[in-house]
Amino acid sequence: MLQVAQKTDDYLSRFAQLEARLAGDGAALLLPIRKKAIERFAQLGFPTTRDEDWRFTNVAPIARTAFGAATRDGEAVEAQQLATSALMQADWPRLVFVNGHVAPQLSSVGELSGGVRLESLAAVAHADPEALQQHLARHADYQDHPFTALNTAFMEDGAYVHIPKGVYLEQPIHLVFVSTADAGPVVSHPRNLIVAENGSQATIIESYLGLGDGVYFTNAVTEIVVGENAVIDHYKVGREAQQAYHVGTTQIHQDRSSNASSHAITIGGALVRNDINTVLDGEGAQCTLNGLYLVSGRQHVDNHLRVEHAKPHCDSREFFKGVLDGHGKAVFTGRIIVRKDAQKTDAKQTNMNLLLSDHAQVDTKPQLEIFANDVKCTHGATIGQIDENAMFYLRSRGLSEPAARGLLVYAFASEAIDRIQPQLLRSQLRQRLFDWLPEGHRLQDAQ
């Protein structure tokens, strides 16, 4: 305990330095929020497994590591190191961040039509901080979430995306967060703000990648504001390095008749926690939260969903699938809150897990809090193993044991991958799935 308290102090003293550095900068406008957040963090400290929301995920390894601030060594990363993993071949507008700081030489924003803004949040905070004031830190709750508080206090860079009213952005926007952790443990606090004004439509992809083998910690927060009748598809692809810690919140706020989807795909990282929250705050809003996690070795992956039905006639769909091998551990919590006024809510939650090893473990649970009376709410969770009948059937036709197993796991996981809309991303993730599967390369044309 003493040790953990000390690490909290580390962050507090580092905040004092940040505060001094920011004084006088345009970004100082955000200082009051940062202060509130760090004060809250000082009160909360790191969560422990005694906290209901963290019962199955022990963040002590994060709390006890002394992470240095990530340096701005964006130049150290070459475009070709990212070539395939960051989908550099796509001609999508792209911002790349290295260890939390924008790397202009790797980014390519191009010409954005319709007044769409895709900029470094740090740059906007410096030059045009008023643009951020309406939404930044207004949605992602730092009162109850210590990591969000920490991010809010220390946020330095990330993307600011603004889609003006009625604008339809055809190409996905790609935000790439690269960590190079070779020189001791470092932490970065990426912060994104995505605002889709009324009637607009866009696709946003966030990719998290690790290049080095070292220990690092990504503590990310993305706020997404979906205006009336707007459509946002959001993808978060977590491919952090083997020894990485990743805690990230995707906070969505939806207005009337809006439609938001979030896809959280987790393949890498030692300890990963994704908080995906949406508030359906206007009649007729719809959200779809999809996810896939592939967990092996000693990885721990926790997906924590919170859907708040605040207004009537909203639909929510949650569909998460996981495959676990080795000593992998996964946690799935699906909290659905239906407020008193939210009549005619239609909420559906599905979490399916496939265990490939006797040592793998899943804790999955729905949490329903329903205060309205005319509501449709269904949930289902399964934890299963490879179907031996199916295995025998495939093998009896000549498929080897690994080929048959790979095919069945592929079939299970591809149901989640098929839901990914951008074709390039879908085929890239299918490739990652093949890489992950034993003898997966043989399945190349299984689709």
Binding site: A390, R395, S396, G398, L407
Partner: protein, 256 residues
């Protein structure tokens, strides 16, 4: 081709096959008939390599090799095929992909070139005509949402595609209407050849109006209690299985 000697098999400590003897030679078509629960599927599954059944005694030689020591996929590659009584539904696995992967693993084993997607499609289209199957089924998941008849015809299709040396059909005729039954029979008859042996396991004599067996065996309570020519099926139709059991031990083993 196949020699089963004194085969005993149990499931969960419960003996189901109690000494089966059977010899099958290339070019022959054998029919095994038996009542519910007599062990027909157990025999078929043991031959295909299902490990939920434990062989406690006896041996099985396939082309001179110890079949029981081979993995199920090894058996398939060596030319053994079993049409399942209850074909398994496998959501998410594309039928065309599966069939091509199966065919290629067998072709590779036989030293033949593997087929690419286009060549495979030509190959399989001909076979689909044989079983009067809609090509669209190829793009669906294996057996998922197939009708009972489609599943059974699918098994015949797989057999036609994989061209086994030894085919064991476990009640492929059960639950079919007369048209589907004729299609299944046509599929089997087309596959009859001098270098292939077929074992047709059935509950009913009806299919034998369309497939004429060289030998008929009656399996009751884990043993073959009678063996004979095609006329045995007719006798069975008249007297029922009860009439067979009395003649027991004296007549086994037979068939060459």
């Amino acid at each position: 081709m196949l020699e089963i000697r004194n085969l005993h098999a149990s499931v969960e400590g419960h003996e189901i096959l109690k000494g089966v003897n059977l010899t099958v030679t290339a070019g022959e078509l054998h029919s095994i008939m038996g009542p519910n629960g007599s062990g027909k599927s157990t025999l078929a599954q043991v031959l295909a390599g299902r490990d939920t059944y434990e062989v406690t005694q006896g041996e099985v030689l396939y082309e001179g090799r110890n079949l029981l020591e081979m993995d199920p996929d090894e058996r398939a590659r060596a030319g053994v095929f079993m049409a399942f009584q209850y074909p398994v539904e496998i959501p998410g696995v594309n039928t065309a992909y599966f069939l091509r992967a199966a065919l290629n693993s067998i072709r590779k084993h036989r030293g033949l070139e593997e087929l690419d997607a286009a060549d495979f499609l030509d190959w399989v289209k001909d076979k689909m005509k044989l079983v009067d199957m809609d090509e669209r089924l190829l793009n669906r998941s294996i057996n998922e949402g197939f009708s009972g008849g489609e599943k059974k015809r699918g098994e015949i299709l797989q057999m036609a595609v994989l061209e086994p040396k030894l085919a064991i059909m476990d009640e492929t005729d059960s639950g079919l209407d007369i048209d589907a039954l004729k299609i299944v029979a046509k599929g089997v008859n087309t596959l009859r050849s001098a270098d292939r042996a077929i074992i047709v396991i059935t509950h009913y004599q009806r299919i034998l109006d369309y497939i004429v067996p060289d030998f008929v065996h009656v399996l009751v309570d884990g043993r073959i209690v009678r063996s004979g020519g095609k006329e045995l099926a007719l006798e069975l139709e008249e007297k029922g299985y009860a009439g067979m059991e009395q003649k027991n031990a004296a007549t086994e083993p037979v068939a060459s």
